[in-house]
Structures are given as structure tokens and as C-alpha cells.
Amino acid sequence: MFRWIFISTLMLAGQAVLSANTLRVCKSCPVSSIKAAIQQARPCDTVFVETGIYKEGNILIDKELTLIGRGQPVLDGEGKTEIVTIAANHVHFEGFVLRNVGTSYSEDRAGIRLKEVSDFYVKGNRVENAFFGIYLQKSKNGTIDGNEVVGEAKDEVSSGNAIHLWYCDNILIINNKTIGHRDGIYLEFVNFSTVQGNYSERNVRYGLHFMFSNDDVYRGNTFHDNGAGVAVMYSRRIGMFSNYFEKNWGPAAYGLLLKEIHDGQIEGNTFQENTVGIFAETSNRIVYSKNQFIQNGWALKISGGCQTNNLTQNNFIGNSFDLAVHSAGTDNKFDGNFWSDYAGYDLDKNGIGDVPHRPMKLFSFVVSKTPESLVLLRSLFVDILNFSEKVSPIFTPENVVDNAPLMKVVEPDR
């Protein structure tokens, strides 16, 4: 018996040397466990893992390896441990299904953890029923591409984030799907990174969440029916381009929540059927341009302490309230937008209305003071009230005015 093992090991070693740098793992192969394969492999080798269910607890990748799952092999954590830990640079990890990472209140267990590494590539994996999906800590120069992280989070306390980045630099997160976690994608202290083409749905808290992260861009993502679409907090110079925020409904649901954001750019996004399209708090020097606000409860809520924001070339179409600005005396600009309820005229036919438009209605002001008065939405009395305020503004802030309202919808660039 022992001799047989000895011989087969020798043979295996020989084979490894001969075939230079590929290894196969399957149930009937000489190497039937991933852990063993990693142990045997040398840096720069490729390990192919064939279809099957592998219950090996925590798998540590501590060498420069390429691991590729063929036919979606399943790594099952059986609800007890973290599944894959990548602790070496230049790791390529592709095509696995990771299942059942147990919830823990003392440690952040993840489906895939990248620990202080660089130049990695994590592609096309599926993480199911995990506490945290893909967890990056102190890593840089890597790509998270086309993964699917699906959970069934019920509340914020007992769930983790689908893709979680902490102290990372220069990461590309592209074409991932994050469903049913706490946050879809969470970035904390992450700089110079790009989040692109991802899809977030039914996450309990936010679809995408920035904290203390600077100089990042997110582009072309879709946020559907999350607690709130995107929350950007305490960050600077964030670019937000061509994203879709739709159907983020509920008592405290926003398409986009901005808190202490400076020098951001919000361009070409679509906000459709959200309770609140954008809610901005103490956010300064932000340019909002070419966005579509369609059929939201509130298109844009700007609370106190927001200064020097510029709103231009946006379309406001069929929102219950276009704008609610909470503080007077700020120097925000609202010129050159299209408002679907603009009632002015354009005698000189230059495409710009001759009468300034006041996007903030009196009722919007009243509702911000007494939320319950929303009961009277669309009633005759409210229409009369709005009309009289429009004729001679008394309550609504004097400087919330579009001096050059557009007569026609701004065509998107696409």
C-alpha cells in the first residue's frame, strides 16, 4: 500500500516536471484536492479544476498561480469557513462557484479574500450564499471582472457586502452582478479605481457605497431596487457617468445619496422612478449635467450646506417634485435645464425660455416642513397655492431659479 502511494507520488512528480506547468484536479485524477495541487504547484503554474464539489474548508493560494475552473466546479464552505484566500501577487482565479460561507459576527468571512496582494485577476466566478462575497484588503492594481455574487440578505446586521474593498488602489471592477447583500459594492479608502458596467439589485443598504475614497470613477452601472442606489460619502473628486438608477423605492430610498462630497462630477446618468433621485447633503462644487430625471418623487433634494453646485443641461420630466432646496442664500446655479412643467414662452425662438423658471414649488417647501401634508398632492388647493406662489414668490428661496430654461429636451450624447 505504502509502496503504491510512494510510486504514484514519484510518477506524479515526474509528470509535473515533464508537463512543465499545468496541473489537473478532479475526483478521479491523481490530484483530487485543490489544496494538494496548490502545494505541489510551483510559481507561474496553471491549475485546472474540473467539475465537481470540493469541500476543503479554507483554501490558501500563497503562490503566483493561475487557477481555472472548468465546468464550474463548486467550492463548498459548508457554512463554516472562508473559502478562498489569495495571499500572493499575480494570481489569476477564474470560473469557480463558491458556496455557503457562514455568517460570523466576529470575523468578516468571504467567498474570495485578497489579502495585501497586487496584479490579480478574478474573473467569472459565482459566489452564492456568502457572508462577504469578494473581499479585497490593502490590495492594488487588480481586476474583478464578470463575477456574480448572489445572497439572500434580510437585514444590515447579519449580512456582508457582495464586493468589499478596503484600503485599495487602482482596482478595476467591471461587469459584475451583485444581488441581495448588504452593499452591492463597497469601497472604503479606495483611490484611483474604476467601477464599470456592474449591476446591483435588491441589496439591503446600497447598490454601491463609497466611503473616504477619492479620485474614483463609476460608469455605466445599473442600480435597481436597492435600499438606496448609490451612497457616496466623505469622498472627493468622484466621477459618476452614465449610470442607471431605477426604482429605488421606499421611505428612505434614494437613487444617489451624496454626503460630504466635494468636486464631483455627475454626468449623463438616468434617474427613473426613485422616491428621491439625488439627495445631497453638504456637498460642494459638484457639476450636474446631462442627467435625466424621469418620474421620480423628488428629482433632486439639496439640503443645507451645499454650495457652489452647478446644475445645467439636465432634463426634469414628470417628477412629482423637481427640486427641494432646504437652505436659502447659497450660490448654487440652476441655469439652462429642461423642466417639463415650465410654462413660459420663447418669443425670439432661440430655444431658451424668456421667463425665468422657479423649479421649487411652494408645496415642495411645505412638504419639507410637514411631510404629512403630502396627502394633498395634486389637489386643487395645492395647485392654487403653487400658482399664487409662482406669481409672487414669498416662501420659496429667491435664488433657486433657472434664468435660461430650455424649451426642448436635451438629447443625450449616446
Partner: protein, 260 residues
């Protein structure tokens, strides 16, 4: 009673007013549909119309018909017919013809545009229903006021005032009280207060159907929770029914005792 209802109904259905009223809805709905082609948007526009016009026209019409048919009524009173059946018959004739103009005027263009079978069908039926109920409620109130007042000017004035109260003043008072009591939890209060006014209740029923409710945030959630359930709907319909039955009972009582 049914004979009188029939006479009154046919008399009204042949009158110029009913035609022009129905014709107005027909033209209005057609032009809206022609302009926007989006059924859901037209339903929203019509909501504003139904909440404003149906009660107003019903009020005016009710008072007018009562005063104009006074001689006929006196003639009828000389016959061996029960009083209640005379007045109820007349009232039902007015309400019925108004509802018929509304349903036909709005219903035909929508049917032409194929509302049945589209996802808007339920919203549209709710709109029709609300229009009918409001016609019944406000013509009953108008009849009641007219019966009470011999003086036509006074009757007209009171009827218009009643309409103004439900359409505008009530909401103003509600808003005032809400903003004065803003320190207190007001969800229940605002819910009850708006259910009590037939116009407000109709408005909220339509808004909820059109799913604008989903956009109403916290307060909207309260409404959805109440009116979105079976019980809430039953309560809402019961309140609307009460608003018809109440004035009708009033008409009956006044009619039985009135000295002509």
C-alpha cells in the same frame, strides 16, 4: 318611483345640457389621447378633471334641475304618489344621466384607443368609478340643499359653497392644521381626515392605483399600508357609499316633512 326616475332620466338625457356635458368629455378625452397617446398620462390628466368638474357640474345640475322642475313636482305631488319616490326618482334621474354622460364621454374614446386589455385598464375603471360616485354624491348634496331652501339664490349659493368647501377649503384647513400640529405624529390624522372628504378620498384612491404612491416615501407608506389592503379598500368604498346614502336619507326626511 321607477316611473318618475324614467321620466326624469329621459327628460334630462334629451336636454341640451347633458349632451354638451357628455360632448365636452368626449372632445376633451379625445384631444388628450390624440395629443399624448400615452394612456397612463391621460388617466392622470383626467384625474384632475374628474376631481374638479364632476362634483362642480353635479352640484350645479342638481340644484338647477330641482328648481326648474318645480312645477312638474307640484303637479306630481297632487297625484297619489309617495313623496319619497318623487324626489328620489328625480335625484336618481339626475345622477344617472350625469354618470351616463361621464361614462360615455370618457369611456368611448378610451375604448377606441384600446384601454381594455392594456395594463391601464384597472386604473381607468377606477377613474370611471370615482367619476360616477362623485356625481352621485354631489348631486345628492345639491338636491338636499335645494329642497331645504325655497330661495333659489340662497340655494345656489349654498350648493356652490358646499362644493367649494369639499374641493378647496377642506384641503386648506387640513394643510393649516397639519402645519400647526407638525410636532405631533400626524399620519393617522391625515389619513382619517382625507378619507372623510369624498374628493380627497377619490384622489388618493386614484393616486394609489397609478403607483405614484410608491414615490410618496414615508407618508405614502402609511396610506399604502392602509388603503392597499382589502380592509382599507372596504373602508374606502364604505365611506364613499355613506357619502351617497347620507344625503339621500336627508332628502327623504326633508321631502316627507316639507310643506309645499
Amino acid at each position: 318611483m321607477f316611473k318618475i326616475l324614467k321620466y326624469s332620466f329621459y327628460d334630462l338625457i334629451r336636454s341640451r345640457w347633458t349632451y354638451s356635458y357628455g360632448g365636452f368629455y368626449l372632445l376633451f378625452t379625445l384631444s388628450l389621447l390624440w395629443l399624448s397617446n400615452d394612456l397612463s398620462k391621460v388617466v392622470i390628466s383626467l384625474m384632475n378633471v374628474v376631481l374638479l368638474l364632476c362634483p362642480l357640474i353635479a352640484t350645479m345640475f342638481g340644484v338647477m334641475v330641482y328648481y326648474n322642475s318645480r312645477e312638474f313636482t307640484e303637479l306630481l305631488l297632487a297625484q297619489p304618489v309617495r313623496r319619497t319616490s318623487i324626489f328620489l326618482g328625480q335625484y336618481l334621474g339626475v345622477a344617472g344621466s350625469l354618470s351616463a354622460s361621464w361614462v360615455i364621454g370618457v369611456g368611448m374614446p378610451f375604448a377606441l384607443y384600446g384601454v381594455f386589455g392594456s395594463p391601464q385598464a384597472a386604473n381607468f375603471l377606477m377613474l370611471l368609478f370615482v367619476g360616477v360616485v362623485l356625481s352621485f354624491v354631489f348631486s345628492a348634496i345639491a338636491f338636499f340643499i335645494a329642497l331645504k331652501n325655497e330661495n333659489r339664490i340662497k340655494g345656489f349659493g349654498l350648493a356652490i359653497l358646499a362644493w367649494l368647501f369639499f374641493a378647496v377649503i377642506y384641503d386648506g384647513l387640513l394643510l393649516l392644521s397639519l402645519s400647526m400640529l407638525t410636532e405631533y405624529p400626524l399620519e393617522k390624522f391625515s389619513l382619517i381626515a382625507s378619507v372623510l372628504n369624498p374628493i380627497d378620498l377619490s384622489r388618493i384612491l386614484i393616486l394609489l392605483k397609478l403607483d405614484v404612491s410608491a414615490l410618496m416615501g414615508f407618508t405614502g407608506a402609511v396610506f399604502r399600508k392602509f388603503l392597499g389592503t382589502g380592509l382599507g379598500m372596504v373602508v374606502a368604498f364604505a365611506v364613499l357609499l355613506l357619502w351617497v346614502v347620507g344625503p339621500v336619507v336627508g332628502i327623504k326626511r326633508v321631502a316627507e316633512r316639507k310643506d309645499f
